[in-house]
C-alpha cells in the first residue's frame, strides 16, 4: 500500500514538472514577444518608415533606407533562390524518385538547412566581395539565396511527393510527356503547398543577420544601388543596439517589432494553410 502511494506521488510530481516545462516554454515566448511589443510600440512612429537616419547622436530620423534595402535584398534572394529550389525539388521528387541520388541529395539539403549561416557569409565574402573589391547588395542577396535553396528544395520535394501517383499515371496514359505532366498536373496539385513553403522560407531568410554582416554590410544613407553596400533592418538593429545612443536603442526596438510582427504573421498564416490543406491529424 505504502509503495503504491509513493509510485503515484512520483508520477504526479513528474507530470507536474513536465507541465511546468511547457509553461516555461510559453513563458519565454510571451516574455520575448512582450518585450519586443512594449519597447517597439513606444518607439514606433510614422516617421520611422519614411525618414532616413539622422547623423549619429541627433534624435529623430527613421529607417527608410533599411526598409528599402531589406526589401531589395530579400526580393533578389527570392528571385535567385526560389526557381533553383523548386526545380531541384522537382528533380528529386519526379525524375530521381526512389533513386539513391535523390535520397542523398535531400539528406545533404537537410544538413545545409541547419549549417551556420555566418559560414555562408564568409563564403560569399570570399567569392563575391573580395574579387569585386567592395560590399554589395548583390552579395547579400546571393548569401540569402544560398540559405534559401535547400529549404525550398526540401519543401517542394515533400509537397510533390504528396500528389497521388495515380494522377500522373492518368496523364501518362493520355500520352503526355513527363515534363508536361509535371507542369500541368503535378505542379497544379501541389501549388498551395509550394507557395506556402516559399513564403515560409522568405520569412526565414528575412530575419537573417549573420550572412549579411560581411556581404551587404550596412549603409546609413538611402541607396537603391544593389552594387554598393546596402542597409538592412537586421544589420541596422545590430549596429543600433550595440551603439551608445538611447535614441538608437529605441529605433532598434522599433525595427525589431516590425520585423518580428511581419515574420510571425507570415509564419502563422503559412503554417495554418499547410495544416488545413495537408494535415488531417
Amino acid at each position: 500500500m505504502q509503495r503504491e502511494r509513493i509510485r503515484k506521488l512520483e508520477s504526479v510530481i513528474a507530470l507536474t514538472v513536465s507541465t511546468f516545462a511547457a509553461a516555461l516554454g510559453i513563458f519565454w515566448l510571451v516574455f520575448i514577444l512582450g518585450s519586443v511589443i512594449v519597447h517597439g510600440a513606444h518607439a514606433l512612429s510614422p516617421g520611422f518608415f519614411v525618414h532616413d537616419p539622422t547623423p549619429a547622436g541627433i534624435p529623430g530620423g527613421g529607417m527608410r533606407n533599411a526598409f528599402v534595402g531589406q526589401f531589395l535584398i530579400t526580393l533578389f534572394a527570392t528571385i535567385i533562390g526560389v526557381p533553383v529550389g523548386i526545380l531541384g525539388g522537382t528533380f528529386l521528387a519526379e525524375y530521381a524518385r526512389g533513386k539513391r541520388i535523390s535520397h542523398y541529395v535531400s539528406m545533404l539539403a537537410d544538413i545545409m538547412v541547419t549549417v551556420p549561416t555566418i559560414v555562408v557569409g564568409t563564403f560569399i565574402y570570399a567569392i563575391m566581395v573580395k574579387p569585386m573589391g567592395h560590399f554589395s547588395g548583390w552579395a547579400g542577396s546571393v548569401a540569402l539565396a544560398v540559405i534559401m535553396i535547400p529549404v525550398v528544395l526540401r519543401t517542394t520535394e515533400n509537397m510533390l511527393t504528396l500528389v497521388p501517383w495515380t494522377l500522373r499515371e492518368a496523364a501518362f496514359a493520355l500520352g503526355a510527356p513527363y515534363y508536361k505532366v509535371i507542369m500541368q498536373v503535378v505542379y497544379r496539385g501541389a501549388i498551395t503547398g509550394i507557395f506556402t513553403g516559399v513564403l515560409l522560407s522568405i520569412a526565414r531568410v528575412a530575419g537573417e543577420t549573420a550572412p549579411l554582416l560581411f556581404t551587404s554590410f550596412n549603409n546609413s544613407f538611402f541607396s537603391g544601388n544593389m552594387n554598393g553596400p546596402m542597409a538592412s533592418l537586421t544589420v541596422t538593429i545590430f549596429q543600433y543596439a550595440m551603439g551608445p545612443y538611447d535614441d538608437w536603442h529605441d529605433q532598434a526596438w522599433a525595427a525589431a517589432l516590425v520585423i518580428t510582427l511581419a515574420i510571425m504573421i507570415v509564419t502563422i498564416v503559412g503554417r495554418m494553410v499547410i495544416k488545413l490543406r495537408y494535415g488531417k491529424k
Binding site: R7, A14, S18, A21, A22, L24, G25, I26, W28, L29, I32, V36, H39, V84, G85, I86, L87, G88, F91, E94, Y95, R97, G98, M107, T114, V115, P116, I118, V119, G121, T122, A126, P150, L153, T161, P164, W165, R168, P177, Y178, Y179, R204, G207, E208, T209, A210, L213, F214, T234, F238, A241, M242, H249, A256, I259, T260, I263, M264, R271, I274
Partner: protein
C-alpha cells in the same frame, strides 16, 4: 518539421517512365538535375573556398597547433582557436544541459498529459519560438535578460551554488550579465523548440499497444513515459539533441550581444568569452592583415566541418529511426 509529411510508402518504389525521345523532356530533365546539383555544388564550394582562404593560416599555424593555441593577438599576428573553441563548447554544452530537460518535459506534456484541445496550440506556440529571428533573441537578451541576470539571478547563484565546494568556482566573479551563462540561457531558449518537436514526433511514434500493455499491468503514467516511451524513442531523441547541438554551435546573433567577445579561457560562467561565431561577427570586417583574415576563415572552416559532421550524425540517427518505425498511415 512543423508538420509531419506523410509519404505514400508504395509510391517511392514506383519509377516514372522517361520519354527520352522528346527533346523538351530531356531539356527539363537536365535543368532540374542541374538545379538539384546546386546544393551539392554549394556544399563543396563552401568547403573548397574556406580551405583555400584559410590556407595561409593553416600553413603558418598548422592544424593541431592552431586548435590548442590560446593566443589571439592581432597586433603580433599570432592566432589560435582554443579560446574560441572553448567558448563554443561551453556555451553549447551548457545550453543543451538547460534545454534538454525542458524540451523533454514539453514533449511529455504535449503527448501524454495535455487534453486534446490543448495539444495543437501548445505545440504550435513552442514551435513559434523557432520562428523568432535570432537578432531578436540578441536584442532581447542584451536589453532585457542581461540586466535581470546581473541583478537577480547571478547574485542568487553566487550565494547558493557558488558556496558549494566542487561547482563553486563556476559561479564566482562579478555578475555582469554579459557572460557565458546569459548566452547559454538564450541559446537554450532557441534550441528548445527543435529538441521538443523532434522528441514529440518520436514519442508519438510509440505504438499505442505497447503503452497500453504497460498500463494494463498497473504502471503509472510516469512509469509508462519513463520505461516505455522514452526507451522506445531514444534514437529519435538522440537525433533531436544532435540537431539542436548543430544549431547551437552555429548560432551567431543571439550570443553576439551578450558574450562580450573576450578571448580567454575562464573557470567562471560569469566571465565574458568568445565563440567562433561571435569572433567572426565582430572581427571579420576589421581584419586588416592577410594572416588575420586567413585565421578568421580558418575558424569558419573549423565551424563548418564541426557542424556538418554533427548534423550528418543527427540526420543518420533520424533516418534510421524513421526506417525502424515507419509512420502509420
Amino acid at each position: 518539421m512543423a508538420i509531419a509529411i506523410k509519404r505514400e510508402a508504395a509510391d517511392v518504389k514506383r519509377r516514372p517512365p522517361i520519354f527520352r525521345r522528346d527533346p523538351l523532356d530531356i531539356l527539363f530533365y537536365a535543368v532540374t538535375a542541374l538545379a538539384a546539383m546546386a546544393v551539392v555544388a554549394v556544399t563543396l564550394g563552401i568547403f573548397y573556398i574556406l580551405v583555400r582562404e584559410s590556407y595561409p593560416a593553416i600553413k603558418k599555424f598548422g592544424v593541431f597547433g592552431f586548435i590548442v593555441s590560446k593566443e589571439w593577438d592581432p597586433y603580433r599576428e599570432v592566432f589560435g582557436a582554443a579560446t574560441n573553441l572553448f567558448g563554443t563548447a561551453v556555451a553549447t554544452c551548457l545550453s543543451l544541459i538547460i534545454a534538454i530537460p525542458v524540451a523533454l518535459g514539453i514533449a511529455i506534456f504535449v503527448t501524454e498529459i495535455a487534453p486534446d484541445f490543448l495539444k495543437g496550440p501548445i505545440g504550435a506556440a513552442i514551435e513559434l519560438l523557432a520562428a523568432i529571428p535570432s537578432i531578436i533573441y540578441g536584442i532581447w537578451g542584451f536589453f532585457t535578460l542581461a540586466p535581470i541576470m546581473s541583478a537577480h539571478i547571478e547574485p542568487f547563484l553566487m550565494n547558493t551554488l557558488g558556496r558549494l565546494p566542487l561547482v563553486g568556482p563556476l559561479f564566482q566573479g562579478t555578475p555582469m550579465g554579459i557572460d557565458l551563462l546569459t548566452a547559454s540561457v538564450i541559446l537554450s531558449i532557441m534550441i528548445i523548440p527543435f529538441t521538443a518537436s523532434i522528441s514529440r514526433d518520436a514519442f508519438n511514434l510509440t505504438p499505442e499497444i505497447v503503452k497500453e500493455s504497460a498500463y494494463a499491468v498497473g504502471a503509472t503514467r510516469w512509469e509508462v513515459v519513463k520505461n516505455v516511451v522514452i526507451p522506445y524513442s531514444r534514437l529519435g531523441i538522440f537525433g533531436g539533441v544532435a540537431l539542436s547541438l548543430g544549431r547551437a554551435l552555429g548560432e551567431t546573433m543571439a550570443v553576439a550581444f551578450v558574450l562580450g567577445n573576450n578571448h580567454q579561457i575562464t573557470t567562471s560562467l560569469f566571465d565574458a568569452a568568445a565563440t567562433i561565431t561571435v569572433t567572426l561577427a565582430n572581427e571579420f570586417t576589421e581584419a586588416s592583415t592577410k594572416t588575420y583574415l586567413s585565421s578568421l576563415f580558418y575558424l569558419a572552416l573549423l565551424l563548418f566541418v564541426l557542424s556538418f559532421a554533427i548534423l550528418a550524425v543527427a540526420k543518420i540517427f533520424l533516418v534510421r529511426y524513421e526506417k525502424k518505425n515507419p509512420r502509420e498511415q
